[in-house]
């Protein structure tokens, strides 16, 4: 099968954030990671386009994303002091939305930095 080549891809595994990686993928998996280090290789190969996990879980049971989104919104809205935490491997665009959500539900927002 013809592999798709992505040049100048960015690896987000460690803080080096190397952006000179060449990825060869078959649409489902990344087959080759030119330029990536040993950590980067396993990072890229460890994620695929397959559906390996349920879309969502609510109370341990499989649920639709809509149901899970509604449950999440309800918990955060009802809480007196919610916390939004993590943000260490999400995009800036996601962090930007996380701030917006934290504001909307009156939360504390914190990243991995505080650890």
């Amino acid at each position: 099968m013809e592999l798709t080549v992505t040049k100048n891809a960015t690896c987000t595994f460690c803080g080096c954030v190397c952006d000179d990686i060449e990825l060869h993928s078959d649409g489902e998996r990344i087959k080759e990671t030119k330029g990536a280090c040993i950590l980067g290789q396993s990072w890229f190969k460890n994620h695929t386009a397959e559906r390996l996990y349920p879309a969502a879980l609510v109370n341990g049971r499989e649920a639709t994303v809509d149901e899970a989104v509604e449950a999440a919104a309800e918990f955060l809205h009802a809480a007196d002091m919610p916390l939004v935490y993590g943000l260490s491997n999400v995009t800036c665009e996601a962090t930007r939305e996380a701030v917006s959500l934290a504001e909307l539900v009156g939360a504390v927002i914190d990243s991995h930095t505080s650890l």
Binding site: A79, D80, M81, P82, V105, G106, A107
Partner: protein, 268 residues
């Protein structure tokens, strides 16, 4: 006399900066009950958390498990607050005058950036007693904080004036970046006491593991200390009558002219 009894401990922190004589004294019973407090993100009435007895007064007594109640006595300039039970963070922060007595323990930031008045904690205190908040040039700039129990890290961080005395042991970085004032450690401290201090005095009755940037200047029993000892004795923190003090100066890294007086039981 105003007595407030916490009905049950709040489930998330309760910010109650209204619990200050400056706010409470002029108010009627009904007005006190209606004061705003912040339970996490919710603004609620004081009487949803406290049973209120009496009218507003300069004498305020708090009862209950106030471990999550924060900012009690914030910015107070007068009056007395007596607390029976543990109390949460920022007790007496930015306080300028008056007296706070805690029959229990207090969390972090007791007397943060306070400028005057007295805080007496009968139990333990958390970290950052009398300290500067993040980024501030100075911590405590006046007043007295007495802690009968132990205290946490960064006690007296960047303090500029005033007195902090702790009867129990304190943790790391006591007197961190201290610029003035006096810190009395009756049971010593863990690591790095006096780190980066520029001026001020740390008196310790137990040996300290000082940074290598402190040097032993001399061994003496300074006259001013006798005077100071009298003052401290009046506060219930008597210094030993015998012995002498090793005087260390530092921190040479800054370079600073702080002094650390470490008591020696037997004259050298």
């Amino acid at each position: 006399m105003l007595t407030l009894t916490l009905l049950e401990p709040p489930t998330v922190p309760l910010e109650a900066e209204v619990l200050s004589p400056d706010v409470l004294a002029p108010l009627s019973h009904a007005e006190v009950r209606a004061l705003p407090v912040y339970h996490g993100k919710r603004r609620l009435r004081l009487d949803e958390f406290f049973e209120v007895e009496g009218d507003g007064s300069d004498h305020v007594t708090l009862h209950g498990d106030l471990g999550r109640v924060r900012w009690v006595g914030r910015k107070m300039t007068r009056g007395h607050i007596t607390i029976h039970g543990p109390v949460g963070m920022h007790l007496g922060a930015h306080m300028r005058g008056g007296h706070i007595e805690v029959h229990g323990s207090a969390a972090d930031w007791v007397g943060g950036e306070m400028a005057g008045g007295t805080i007496h904690v009968r139990g333990d205190a958390g970290g950052q007693v009398g300290s500067a908040y993040r980024g501030s040039v100075s911590g405590m700039s006046g007043g007295t904080i007495l802690v009968e129990g132990a205290a946490g890290i960064e006690v007296g961080m960047r303090m500029r004036r005033g007195l902090i005395a702790v009867r129990g042991p304190v943790r790391d970085f006591a007197g961190l970046q201290m610029k003035g004032g006096t810190l009395v450690l009756m049971s010593g401290a863990e690591l790095r006491a006096g780190a980066w201090m520029t001026r001020g005095t740390i008196i310790s009755l137990k040996p300290l593991r000082l940074l290598p940037t402190f040097g032993l200047a001399c061994d003496y029993a300074p006259a001013f200390l006798r005077l100071y000892a009298r003052h401290l004795a009046g506060l219930g923190f008597p210094l030993p009558a015998d012995g002498s003090y090793h005087r260390f100066t530092g921190d040479a890294a800054v370079p600073g002219k702080g002094e650390v007086l470490q008591w020696q039981p037997h004259p050298a």
